[in-house]
Every structure is written in structure tokens, then in C-alpha cells.
């Protein structure tokens, strides 16, 4: 079929956007999550977790409105966002070994590395609601990765904007980002049942 192979359809399409603003689907490196902060007698202690890669999940229209209203200095701040939703990308190899959070002293579930194993197949075919598997083409400097929707967090708008200027990697193309967004929304809105 026009020289396209089945393998090519597995790859997530990405673009390198020149836009200054943050876009839904942007992948940004070395993003800090402020885990906790405390001030006692003038001594401040801040605990941060630095995530090597995150993807922006906030709706693109909200990001556009926020950026535009800040740029034009509108008379009210109705469209301003306080923070932007992101989720971490974990290295697939670390992820299936369950040691992707070993630096945080957290043991995670192990997924069989055998590609025919059901759990592994479900993960890579995006049939596990909590996770989204991504494979990038050779031009993108990211290994096979897994987004864990349970680990989403938020980052201050200006802080992430500043981070993007030095640490922007690429953006997931529209169709693929919409799929990620829809799966994220679906995961968050799931109905929790008791055991």
C-alpha cells in the first residue's frame, strides 16, 4: 500500500512547532514537579521530582486563549490558566521491568517482556486504560515510551513556558494527540467500583 508498512502505522507522528506558546501534545524535557514545600522560621525546604520527559495534556483551545489573552494584555484575566496538565513519559524498557521509579524508591508493576504475552500486547496496543504506549520514528530523540495517566500533575503556566524555551523536544501531531487526550479523559472519568 504505497510503500507503507504495517510497522509504520505503529509510529506516532510528531512535528516540531515554531510557535512560542505551549501546545497540547508538546513533549518537554526535565520538567519539575514541586512535591512539597515548607517554611519554618525562615528556612524553606522544597522537594522536587524532575521528570525527564512529559507531554502536555491540557486542551489546546485553553492554551491558546491563555496565551493570547496574556499577549494582548486584555482588560480581564478570565481566560488565564493557573497551571497546565502534563503526564510523564517513561522509558518502555524501564517500565516493563517495573523499575522506572527506582530513583524515587518506588517499585512498580512488572509487565512480561515477551511481546506475545497478553499484558505486554495490551500495553503496546493501547488497550490498558491507564497507559499509552508511544513509538517514535528515528528522527525523534525519544525511545519507546509509556505515558502513565495516573501520574499526571500540573505545572505553573509561566514556569512551563520558560522550561519550553530550552527543553522543547517535539509535539505529537494532532490526530495522535487527540487520541491521547481522549484516552486520558476516559481514564479520569472512569467509574470506580469497590473491590
Amino acid at each position: 500500500m504505497f510503500g507503507l508498512t504495517k510497522e509504520m502505522f505503529k509510529l506516532v507522528r510528531t512535528t516540531y512547532l515554531q510557535a512560542d506558546r505551549i501546545n497540547q501534545g508538546d513533549i518537554i524535557s526535565d520538567v519539575e514537579f514541586i512535591e512539597a514545600a515548607e517554611e519554618i522560621d525562615g528556612i524553606i525546604t522544597v522537594a522536587k521530582i524532575i521528570f525527564p520527559l512529559v507531554i502536555v495534556l491540557t486542551q489546546d483551545c485553553d492554551l491558546t486563549w491563555d496565551f493570547d489573552s496574556r499577549q494582548i494584555g486584555s482588560s480581564n484575566q478570565d481566560k488565564y490558566l493557573f497551571s497546565i496538565i502534563v503526564a510523564p513519559l517513561y522509558n518502555y524498557e524501564h517500565f516493563i521491568n517495573g523499575d522506572h521509579l527506582s530513583e524515587l524508591h518506588q517499585k512498580m508493576a512488572i509487565i512480561p517482556s515477551k511481546m506475545t504475552a497478553t499484558a505486554n500486547k495490551n500495553l503496546r496496543q493501547n488497550e490498558t486504560p491507564r497507559y499509552h504506549y508511544l513509538e517514535f520514528d528515528s528522527t525523534v530523540p525519544i525511545v519507546n515510551s509509556v505515558i502513565d495517566f495516573k501520574h499526571y500533575f500540573t505545572v505553573n503556566v509561566q514556569k512551563l513556558q520558560k522550561q519550553k524555551t530550552e527543553h522543547y523536544v517535539c509535539s505529537v501531531s494532532e490526530l495522535f494527540r487527540e487520541r491521547i487526550s481522549q484516552r486520558f479523559a476516559s481514564y479520569l472519568s472512569r467509574i470506580g467500583l469497590p473491590n
Partner: protein, 65 residues
């Protein structure tokens, strides 16, 4: 992680520099199909860092209003 402790009370022997440079070299060397960029961006793991400092401001320096 104990849920009743703050991150800085965990005594996790955090070494920021060593964790910042964390790259699984063994894995990178054996995985020949990834290029240098992928080694740089793709092999890191999230790590924790604790920052502590004195933020005391003399009352005379504080401007109100």
C-alpha cells in the same frame, strides 16, 4: 514510601549530581539501535531533589502596600 513522612524526612541519601547524570550505560551500550540523542533524552528516570535555604527577610526590607 511512608505516607506520614515529608519527602525531606525520608533520609533517602539523595545525591543530586549523581542522579542528574543518571544514564543506564549498560543498557545504552547494548541497545545499538538508538542514537546518542535517544541515550540523552530517553534513558533517564525521574529523580528527587531537595532544596533548603534561608529565606528570612529583614523587616526593614519588606515593603507593604
Amino acid at each position: 514510601m511512608s505516607s506520614d513522612k515529608m519527602p525531606w524526612d525520608l533520609n533517602l541519601d539523595i545525591s543530586v549530581e549523581s542522579q542528574k547524570d543518571y544514564v543506564s550505560k549498560t543498557e545504552a551500550e547494548t541497545n545499538n539501535d538508538i542514537d546518542d540523542h535517544k541515550k540523552k533524552y530517553g534513558l533517564g528516570k525521574p529523580y528527587r531533589t531537595i532544596v533548603r535555604g534561608d529565606v528570612r527577610i529583614d523587616k526593614g526590607d519588606v515593603q507593604i502596600g
